[in-house]
Amino acid sequence: MFRIWLLCMLLKNKILRKIFACLLTLLAASFAVFAAFEIIPGDAAVSRLGSNASESAVAALRVEMGLDKPFLLRYFLWLGGLFRLDLGTSYSYGIPVSEMLLDKLPITLCLTLMSMAVTVAVSVPLSIFYAKYARSRIDRTGYVGNQLLMAVPSFFLGIIMTWVFGSILRWFTPGGYVSYKKSFGGFLSYLILPSLAIAIPKCAMSVKLLRSAILTEADKEYVRTAYSRGLSTMEVLYRHVLKNAMIPLVTFWSMAVADMVAGSIVIEQVFNIPGLGRILLTSIANRDYPVVEAVIMLIAAVVVIMNYAADLICRRIDPRIRER
């Protein structure tokens, strides 16, 4: 009993340490983000007033926006705001950044979740199928197709899809979009193609990883033991092999989610979806730093959290990792 209790304490401690490391990473990221906009040329006050504005007007606005304060002070003020979830006010829209993000976040979140759901739902059975027919003709044909889909970038798939389903088959209006506030079903239906465009290359990559992981695991001796107990091939695959083969994939999927959020910039542009990626692009163009900084911090947080989640899941799957 005491040993179990001690182990629990140690594990908790490990988790605490990990969380601390995550926060530290985010802190470093926040500094980098803030410093980056200090270094790149351009002045927010000038871009807001236009290049014809008088010097005194610019100076006054700089004071109003707090740009006259020293860099480190501004950084700490901004950081303090982050902790209170006060992300500042958008320069170009004059509304709180948090309000803007809350409005756009569900869009990108939905897109990411749908893409991830497609990736998981398609890649796992497909990998098992390919692994089962390993080195057969089906497998070899699949391999070529898989390589092809892996190599195609999402935005290109997006353009092809818009062309085929939008312009030729006319299943949807290219560039059309329904707000989730107006009709959630309509909103989701407009996200189907973008999420497929994101999911297909990720799916191909997952299949490649999982297929080879399954084949590696299938050669291990515990598989023979499982067969010696009278299990069918499918039972052996699902009960024994899959769990062990999932470990490399969990890490890949966590990176995929982070990549999907960051990659929304491109795909939202292709499909004309007003999500996070879209405001990031327009804010960069407008030098709307509070918004850009907030979005980048959000992406950084997703990356860190997903990494942490992958770590937790791997620990859960493989007890040997827990003890390291």
Binding site: K220, E221, Y222, R224, T225, A226, Y227, S228, R229, G230, L231, S232, E235, H240, K243, N244, I317, D318, P319, R320, E323
Partner: protein, 262 residues
């Protein structure tokens, strides 16, 4: 007769040139008996064992002869019929208990697995009760803790005991032990041997004991087959083989010099 292997030949086809690993092997094993197969690595003894357990791949391999288990041919049996025997009537334990156990599955689930496959009439509680009883029966006194452990948390000897419990849980008639003590140190080896002998006596399970170590065979079995290069070169009772060996190879084995042929 529980098991009758008749004129068994196994040929590999996966490297282009066919490779005969087992040639015209015949022997039989009565229920409740212990038969030892001894031979150096590559003599075909493990292949023979896997063939009896129905664990050889179905493709890329040419199998001749027959393996009659209670009169039915394991070699030509449909896969679904074979699966009814595996884990229930015929069980197998392997050389390396660490890799033979699934590293990410708790011991309890692995011990119970044969019950889950073959005895759907048992509910989870009954399965657990049987698994715990078997863990104790193979000498793991701390059965509740072992039940929730993972393989890497146990010692080599404990893992092999777990393997034996997992094999015996369904009450098999034949236990195939493929070098079960080779990966263990000498004291643990002796414990596992006496455990297998006890199970043979108490549960009336026939054991096919495969080893490269003639002294182990002498300790455990009543009859011996000596294999070399895929063939049985000599077979008979332990006394006969040890006292009046006829074959040169057997004589050399008995001379007990572990030969390394380069």
């Amino acid at each position: 007769m529980l098991l009758e292997v008749r004129d068994l030949s196994i040929e590999f086809h996966d490297h282009g040139i066919p490779e005969r690993v087992v040639e015209h092997v015949s022997f039989s094993l009565d229920s409740g008996e212990i038969l030892g197969i001894v031979g150096e690595s590559g003599s075909g003894k493990s292949m023979t064992a896997l063939a009896i357990a129905g664990l050889l791949p179905r493709k890329k391999m040419n199998k001749e002869g027959s393996i009659l288990f209670e009169g039915e041919d394991v070699l030509t049996m449909e896969r679904k019929d074979l699966r009814l025997l595996q884990g229930d009537e015929i069980c197998m334990i392997f050389q390396e208990p660490m890799t033979a156990l699934n590293p990410t599955m708790r011991i309890g689930r692995q011990v119970e697995e044969a019950l889950r496959v073959h005895h759907s009439e048992l509910d989870a509680a009954a399965r657990k009760e049987r698994a715990l009883r078997w863990l104790e029966n193979v000498g793991l006194n701390d059965s509740e803790r072992v039940y929730v452990s993972y393989p890497h948390e146990l010692s080599g000897g404990m893992r092999q005991r777990v393997m034996i419990a997992a094999a015996m849980v369904g009450g098999p008639k034949l236990l195939i032990a493929d070098e079960p003590t080779t990966a263990l140190d000498v004291t643990v080896q002796a414990q596992v041997i006496s455990l297998l002998k006890r199970l043979n006596k108490e549960e009336r399970v026939a054991i096919l004991f495969i080893s490269h170590d003639l002294s182990l065979i002498q300790q455990i079995s009543t009859d011996v087959c000596v294999m070399q290069k895929g063939r049985i070169v000599e077979q008979g009772s332990v006394e006969h083989i040890f006292e009046r060996p006829e074959n040169d190879y057997t004589k050399r084995l008995i001379a007990a010099v572990p030969r390394v042929e380069l």
